[in-house]
Symmetry: C2
DNA sequence: AAAATAATTTAGACAAACCTAAACTTTTAC
DNA sequence: GTAAAAGTTTAGGTTTGTCTAAATTATTTT
């Protein structure tokens, strides 16, 4: 059984490596986790001793198969709790992350099984991220970044890859949510921003930073 | 804000003092919390510095008003989660305690407000214990221990004062749950046990230990 | 390819929450 | 009312997870 701190490291390694494949640097982890690089080194030695990561000094870490299984389990719990908070307790998508971050560490197999059942075995969380199955499988949906669309092309928002309240509140304000119909009205080559129409009505200009974080289907 | 460990001490003091009034000894706490008396002394000094308890060396602790408020908040969270687990996730009453013990430490005012609302502002948890209000009030129901009933007298089970799985599973086996109609069939003076009929059908003999833990209304 | 810079690890400390062993109070027993 | 027993606290140590400062390794620059 892992401690909360260990679980947070494993989750961070998973996210930074984009699914557990690539190696992750100490500095990257220290930024994500808001701890000093020296503390990260310590913890990596510990996770390595537990065979949750492959760790080569000065050359970064990768999750082992076991580490990956653990990561997917935590992510499953996190995303199921997010669905619960939004669908059952009327949280908005910018309020769920911090609370789910705490609930994901509650230890009980039965709890997660029953929660999944209670929610009707959802496939996606409120940000459009896929929920791993009990067996640890990620069912990805084909999708592309809004930034990759050309003029006139359309898409339906299926996912946003940033859970920070500030970003989600920004999307609330411009009127973008999961399911919004977007269309590229114009390209501004100067800074790679796009003018986007939302649900066939108002249009806004989105910076390339934002365009990289919004994903659509049927492009 | 209190740590999980601090919260567990405050909860234990509340329970052992029977509501925060009486003073509680170091040994009693060490037994309840499964820690050594020396560790309890340490923590009491710490809680005292935070003004959550009145602590006089060698003479036990009591909760301060602030400590009592904190205790009731934790108990409120614990009992609301128990209701959730039983009513929404089909847990049985002997499975909820351990999980609720973890969930009670999640920090979010909004979460508890919304959970309370989602559950329909329940007044009692699955063991019949009252749920403190948001304002920190305990709405007790008039009740008496089964042990205090005389021959022929009846009552409806409204509460059981022991959340240990072993005890609750014992009640499951003899067929007693919240709402069961009990009647005293016979008194056995030798060991103060009683013969009790359950829901006007089968009858069982309950030891005085057990009789002290079951509470009834309309006696 | 050596020197400068950046990234990383080791060494030594600290706080929280626990422990054991020893010292100290309080209570109980005679 | 003193002595033994029981209960409690203090002193010093451990583990987990963090920190700063110093040492080490890798990378970049020239």
């Amino acid at each position: 059984m892992q401690s909360t701190a260990e679980e947070n490291y494993i989750k961070a390694i998973y996210k930074l490596s984009g699914g557990g494949a690539a190696a992750v640097s100490t500095t990257a982890l220290s930024e994500t986790l808001q701890t000093k690089p020296a503390s990260v080194s310590d913890m990596l030695r510990k996770l390595s001793a537990k065979d949750l990561v492959h760790y080569v000094k000065y050359h970064g870490v990768q999750l082992t198969d076991e580490g990956q299984r653990v990561a997917l389990k935590i992510i499953r719990k996190h995303r199921l709790w997010e669905v619960f908070l939004v669908q059952k307790l009327r949280f908005s998508w910018d309020e769920v992350h911090e609370v789910a971050e705490q609930m994901e560490h509650v230890k009980s197999e039965l709890l997660i099984q029953r929660l999944d059942e209670f929610l009707g075995h959802p496939r996606l969380d409120p940000h459009g991220d896929p929920i791993p199955t009990e067996a640890g499988e990620l069912r990805e949906v084909e999708q592309r970044a809004l930034a990759s669309l050309n003029i006139e092309q359309e898409g339906v928002v299926c996912r946003v890859k940033d859970s920070q309240p500030a970003f989600l509140q920004y999307l609330n304000r411009v009127g973008i949510q999961i399911g919004s119909q977007l269309q590229v009205v114009d390209k501004i080559p100067y800074d790679n921003s796009l003018e986007i129409s939302i649900d066939k009505s108002k249009s806004v200009i989105l910076s390339s930073d934002v365009l990289e974080k919004i994903f659509v289907i049927n492009p």
